[in-house]
Structure formats: structure tokens, C-alpha cells
């Protein structure tokens, strides 16, 4: 299981890519593996203001419904509409085509881990 070095991670198994004042959110490979086949993603509304640690999306696998929490605060500027038709992208490409939402970064973040720290966290 590869963990991209350019991302930050949460202990809830989300990732965030910070690029200037924009952040892209998704769930980690470990998370999609644990959830199993994802069959539905509920995306946030564009313009919604999300607090750090707030549940901003829902992913549903065959058997389970799981909240997805925001690594950093922000206002939603873009959502991955492709997931409405192909939620399985979260399984097949969790760090790429399976991204969930983009925000303009606001104030506040949860504890973020780098790739090495996240790898260690997974081992524990």
C-alpha cells in the first residue's frame, strides 16, 4: 500500500492536498480497503462552510454508511461530480480520480500526519 508523500493524513483516514489557498480532500487507500465496494457518495454543496473535523461527505459501501471528516476548515468550491455516476473511483483511485471535494482553506485544522507518520499510525 503506497502512501503519497505530497499529502497529509488524518487519524480518521482522510487525506488532504494543500496547494496554495486550496485544499483537496479524499479518503485513504486504507479507508477504501476497509470499507469495501463503495456504491454511493453524498457530496457537500458548493459554497458550504466546513469546520475542521466536521463531517462534510458520506460514503456508503455495500454494507456500511460512513461519514467523511474535513482535515482542514474551508468553503467548498468544487466537488467531484464524477463520483455520482462512478463512486467506485474511490476504491480504484483513492488519491487521484477518487477525490471528493476542494475547499478554499479557512481557519483551523485537525491533527495532520505526514506520509511517514501515517504509515507508522497504520502499523499501530
Amino acid at each position: 500500500m503506497t502512501i503519497p508523500a505530497d499529502l497529509k493524513f488524518t487519524k480518521e483516514h482522510e487525506w488532504v492536498r494543500i496547494d496554495g489557498d486550496t485544499a483537496t480532500f479524499g479518503i485513504t487507500d486504507h479507508a477504501q480497503e476497509a470499507l469495501g465496494d463503495i456504491v454511493f457518495v453524498e457530496l457537500p454543496e458548493i459554497g458550504r462552510t466546513i469546520e475542521a473535523g466536521e463531517a462534510y461527505a458520506v460514503v456508503e459501501s455495500v454494507k456500511a454508511v460512513s461519514d467523511v471528516y474535513a482535515p482542514v476548515a474551508g468553503d467548498v468550491v468544487e466537488v467531484n461530480e464524477a463520483l455520482e455516476g462512478e463512486p467506485e473511483l474511490v476504491n480504484s483511485d483513492p488519491y487521484g480520480a477518487g477525490w471528493i471535494a476542494k475547499v478554499t482553506i479557512g481557519d483551523g485544522q485537525v491533527e495532520l500526519l505526514n506520509d511517514d507518520e501515517y504509515a507508522t499510525f497504520l502499523e499501530e
Binding site: D37, V39, F40, E42, E60, V62, K63, V65, E84, E88
Partner: protein
Amino acid sequence: MTELQKTPLFDAHVALGGKMVPFAGFAMPVQYTNGALKEYTFVREGGAGLFDITHMGQVRVSGSGALDFLQYVTTNDVAKLAVGQVHYSALLNERGTFIDDITTYKISDSEYYLCINAANRHKDVAHLQAQAANFDVSVVDESDATTLLALQGAAAQAALQPLVDGDLEEIGYYKFAQVQVAGSAGIVSRTGYTGEDGFEIYIPNSIANDVWSKLLAAGAEPIGLAARDMLRTEMGYALYGHEISDSVTPVEAKLMWITKLDKGDFIGRAAAAARKAAGPQKRLIALKLTGRGIPREHYPVYVDGAASGEITSGMHSPMAGGVALAYVKPEHAESGALSVEIRGKQVAAERTTLPFVRSNVRRN
């Protein structure tokens, strides 16, 4: 917490990457490495899906009073069963509500075989043994010695045939034969819980791993509980603890077709008949979301904006979308605008007919 029971195939499941979860007191595979969706697709699209359903219980009823006994403790008309035939039936209590739903196999005029739900096994056996005191009959729980496999899908017959003596083609739908399976005595019925052609195979535990590996070698693939639940929900088949329970009677559960009020007295008959005459307290409907989302068990169902009931089984069907079974108030069974509350929002739905997707079971 009591330790989970393991079926004789536990190690085989783990070796295949089975994700083991607690289910009715057993450690059972919810899915294998391919995942539930691929397993589901394999069964629906022509494969032979192999399920370990050894958690289910088996009871042998024998003696000169077997027919009278089963007429009294089960709802369906056992006098109509021919030797080699199976039917769907139920055990009711005196209140007319469900102790369990079962299948009854007629082996001979004085010997029958019941397949019962895992979660209800001890309750059922205690009930049957208590009732047996009034009949010339013996009731033996054979569950611990019996492995039950289901082999389901269009390729099931071809995969199973080399392992059994006798021609499977001659076993019709809801019929069975006592055959040699890999050299040991077993029962093979053309029954299942998927809506595909296929078999349920009762064998002694001693040959469980041999039969399992031979079926895999013949092209069968292992299927876990998650895909099994998808397959059964798409057919609208009732599941104990969901559509049926000790708080509903046959008329609510749409199971009057297995409740033969005119066959003579049986436990629960008077109460079930009275409820039917008075009208059901709620009614089971099939619904399909027209809005986006997945309807899931216990989500509230609204009719014309007012709470009416809740979902008992729901899923995302790859073929039919968001589908569910739900109980609603009797007056809402056929009319009124339906919606399902999903995370606080109303999502529009419509009534539909069962099964949600086409059944491919053999018709004869």
C-alpha cells in the same frame, strides 16, 4: 462474550481472504478478496457461487406421528408435500406471530427434514421438542453434524453434477434427492436464496472441505454474506429479524400463501386468521428510490409527508438502483406519495413490484 462458533470451513474461508464477522453466533465470511460487488455479479451473470451456510440449523422429524405433528406446528399444508418435495413454511406462536420461517423436506411418510434459521435454532428446537411430547414423533437437532452449502447461479448444475450420483437435471425446483455427494450420503435440493438456479447441499461435516475444494476446482467461486443479502433482497425474499419477527403475523408479511388456514388446526392459526379478518396492522411494500441515495434498514418511510413506517431491508442494487422492503400503515400500501428519510432529508420513492430484478429460478 461467548466465543463464536466456527463451521468446518472456517480455515478455508480465511485462506481465501474471507473477512470473518460475527453472524448468528458464528464467525462467517462477509466477503472474500474480490469484494461483495464482484461476488454478486459472478452469481447473477452465469457463474456458480458457493456459499457456506452451515450456520443454519437442521432438524429431523420422524415417527408415525410426523405428519400430524408438522401439520400442527407449521403453517403450510404438509399433507400436500410429496416425497422428494420441499416447501417454504413457518412456525408461529399462539399469538400468530413468527417463531421462524423454515423449509420442510418430505423424506418419507414418517420422516421429514426441516431447515431453520441460525439465530432461531435453539428457540425452534425447544419449541418443537416441547410440542413433540403430544405426538408419536422424535425431533432431533442435527445442526452440529451437518454442513450446508449453497451453490447458486447458472453454472451451478454443471459444477455439482460430477460430485453426485444421480442426474441433477431430474431434480425440479423445490425438489430434492438423497444422493451420494463425494462418496457420502447427503441431500441435494434445487432451492436457494438468490433468485438464480442452483442447489442447497446438506452433507456431513467430515466431507465439508473435500466438497468445498472440489466445487472451487470445478469453477465455483466463494460468496460471502454481503453478496448473499444483496441477492436475496433483490428477490424480495423475507429474512427473519427484518421482514418477519415475533411481532408480525403472516398477513402483514405477505405470507398467507404459506399459511393454510383451511388445513385444520395449527399453532397460531386462530390468531393469524383473526388478524387477517380484522386487517393487517401494517403492510409490507416494495419501493424504489426515484431520488438519489441508498435506502437502508430502519430508515423512516413517509407517505404524503407524514411518517408511515420504516424500511426492513434496503440496498443499492447494481441493476435496479435504491430498492427496499418497508412496512407502512395499511392505508398507505397502495396509494400516497412515498418518500424515505435519509440523513434528515426526504428522498422521493415509488412503489414497485417484486422481484426487483428478474428471477432466473427454474420453473419446474
